[in-house]
Assembly symmetry: C2
Homo-oligomer: 166 residues x 2
């Protein structure tokens, strides 16, 4: 029996979703924690990035993940959002590297297809798929936390053959 913990991240400077899932051979995957690193509107970018750095260090120290799965930047129409997501990604990838954690990246399309079989799934469908996959009673809120769990689940499913996961 093998087991691994995956930390999923949905990066952003205003709200950065995180979620840790434990995957064990032939067992029901189990959520260890999920939430968001959120800073109030108008918080300076530098303070936000410091908050992400400190919070992520704490999450990793407390949950000891084996691998990190992070949502890859999908360049949509909003360039300003794209830049700030990339700035957050830089800090997230740095922290993972400082902890010597392997980092895997998946596009929103890959994550949606893996979780729901449908690349254009909406937030509700994603939250429901995450709930079902983790066998939880309620959906995980906010959706940034659910998206982070979805990134972790996607990585587990993409590499399932290797680990003989459910």
């Amino acid at each position: 029996m093998s087991s691994k913990k995956i930390l999923g991240i949905d990066p952003g400077t205003g709200i950065c979703g995180f979620g840790v899932v434990n995957f064990t051979t032939h067992k029901q995957p189990r959520m260890i924690t999920a939430g968001v690193i959120a800073t109030p509107a108008h918080t300076p970018l530098a303070d936000r990035l410091l908050d992400i750095f400190d919070s992520l260090n704490q999450i990793i120290d407390e949950t000891h993940p084996d691998e990190v799965s992070i949502e890859k930047l999908f360049f949509n129409q909003n360039i300003t959002t794209g830049i700030s997501v990339a700035e957050a990604r830089g800090v997230v990838i740095l922290v993972a590297r400082q902890h010597n954690l392997p980092i895997y990246e998946y596009t929103p399309l890959q994550i949606k297809q893996t979780l729901t079989g449908y690349g254009k799934a909406d937030k509700k469908q994603m939250q429901e798929s995450v709930r079902q996959y983790l066998n939880m009673r309620d959906i995980v809120k906010p959706d940034d936390a659910a998206d982070a769990l979805a990134a972790a689940i996607t990585h587990a499913l993409m590499t399932r053959a290797q680990y003989d996961l459910k």
Copy 2:
């Protein structure tokens, strides 16, 4: 007489330019150091960001700048480059914040106009303006290092009234 040291940064994941300039009232501004944090082609992004983090910490510990001036992202046609510059910017801004250094941002247009009076100045013109402003015999190479010095000089000139600089 007042004096301040400004660390200029031209962010990038492959090559990140840096330059520290000492500005003292009524005196010729003086370059303290300048160079690039460069990683070989095909280096994983996480390793690059870690290198930027470690190198920048070392530069700040050695030169003790008072303020940081960083080139703001100008979104050109190359989205992939833009994303990787933003990832590097995230780490640079984080390090400056961890050292409690005030961070100022200027667009490439502002920097070019401030240094040369011409918003479309090319690399050679910028290098020559930096050389003249710092009263150096030779131009600073590579141009990422000169661009970092230009960011530092721009911030000094933008705030000159405040400090009564040359």
